[in-house]
Subunit: 280 residues, 2 copies
């Protein structure tokens, strides 16, 4: 058992804290808000919590669960307080823009991405077992200390996550396709309809929309700040995916425009056949 | 109460038949398959059923629930057997390509589109009350007999549907945006990922895909033959929607490419704010 520090007690941080505490670790929480610290202790998600990051000095492992743009600055703030053996990891949903600079600041850094979540956010939404059977990607680079990687992998496995190892760039490309691209194409479904339908048609469209529209528009109707963060911090991979997607959609348009039904049928059949492979 | 004929005892036809029978109408079913006729009677969805379309001669109202491409030919086959007062309607999911030719064959024709469904198909999936609180669009044109329109509207209201009236072209444009476009953009999400990810990245993407990908890809993983039918019979409206959609997505790409975050934020915020209006 170890002393484990969690910086950022939102949905992800507080849920991880609770699971790690249940496994028997001593969990040290840090939040900018004293009320969040109090709630974390009250709900038994952490053993102790503080707004002061230096309280994490006794920890062997620290998981940074702040918003993406605060991860590297937090590591810089934390570094002077830690012993050199301390392993620092993060829970950011992009990796390329984090892992190299974080490793420069802290050689015992290992990039990570626990992939679970829900519509609600904040400590009040925290849930034990939320990461069980969910993907958890560990993203070492050439400079990463292999002992630190093994320790983080063991921790991930103890949470019963599905462990993946990938380079930061492969991680970012994969999540661009399966997580960030869907947000953008889904948002354009709603926005394109609003922009292009005259008022009468729009109110008819709204009246007729049912489960197909509901599902396809769900992630495009999510938190706009999260969407911006994805786009900003995973810009290159997302742009590549968006452009490749537009080419693919242009082929659909061409098939319909030229009445090339066998070609469109083959594409729809391939989509139908492949979809279950993404859901296993 | 009336004698009501249903041609085509698939999911839609058999479900409508069952509901109309419960309301006290005499329901006459017609299917090409004797086994389907037998099942319809056995399950009490119809009062009688036959493979012979001329058995619908005593009906005052007939609803054509065949696949889209069979609707107009079925009306042509049916016409010689009917008395001129008989009102014929259909349940096709496109209207522009059906209503004018159907009205030419049968002046007492009224276009209709009951909008409910589920993943399963065929009479075995039929369900009582499936159309309750669901949209049902009636699509008269200048030539349509207003008395026939009123009769069909009353029938729709007796099923507790949400009644909409629209021109065939407005219907087709609205469903292009909220039903047919989502199929194409969703299919390209799956297909684009398959085509553009090298094998290692693709298997990582498949492993990491979760609820966001699942929802956004759902309708693109549906029945390919249905997708083709939508594209073929709602070609113009779908092409217009697809092209407008591509323009909208091109703006997203441009915002990301030029780091124009306030513009992208405004778009995502507008999508988030507007989505509930489609789900009421």
């Amino acid at each position: 058992m170890a002393n484990i520090g969690i910086v950022g007690l939102g949905l992800i941080g507080a849920s991880l804290a609770g699971d790690l505490r249940q496994l028997g670790h001593q969990v040290y929480g840090v939040s900018r808000q004293q009320t969040t610290c109090d709630l974390a202790v009250e709900r038994n998600l952490v053993d102790r919590a503080s707004t002061d990051i230096s309280t994490l000095a006794p920890c062997q492992i620290i998981i940074i669960c702040t918003p993406i743009d605060k991860i590297v600055p937090t590591i810089a703030l934390l570094a002077p307080h830690l012993s050199p053996e301390t392993i620092v990891t993060d829970a950011g949903s992009v990796k390329e823009s984090i892992v190299a600079p974080a490793t420069k600041i802290w050689p015992n850094f290992v990039g990570g991405h626990p992939m679970a979540g829900k519509a609600e956010s904040g400590i009040v939404a925290a849930e034990l077992g939320m990461f069980r059977d969910k993907p958890y990607v560990v993203t070492p680079i050439a400079e990463t200390n292999p002992i630190a990687v093994d320790k983080i992998k063991s921790l991930v496995e103890s949470l019963d996550c599905r462990l993946f190892e990938a380079s930061p760039i492969d991680h970012d490309r994969a999540v661009a396709w399966i997580s960030h691209l869907p947000v953008m194409i889904s948002s354009s479904l709603i926005h394109g309809c609003l922009e292009n339908c005259p008022p009468d048609l729009l109110s008819l469209a709204k009246g007729l929309a049912s489960s197909g529209f509901k599902d396809t528009s769900r992630v495009g109707g999510g938190n706009p700040e999260l969407g911006i963060m994805m786009a900003e911090y995973n810009r290159t991979a997302l742009l590549d995916a968006l452009r490749a997607y537009q080419q693919d959609l242009a082929q659909t348009i061409e098939s319909i425009d030229t009445n090339h039904w066998p070609k469109l049928l083959a594409k729809l059949a391939r989509s139908q056949a492949a979809r279950p492979e993404f859901l296993e």
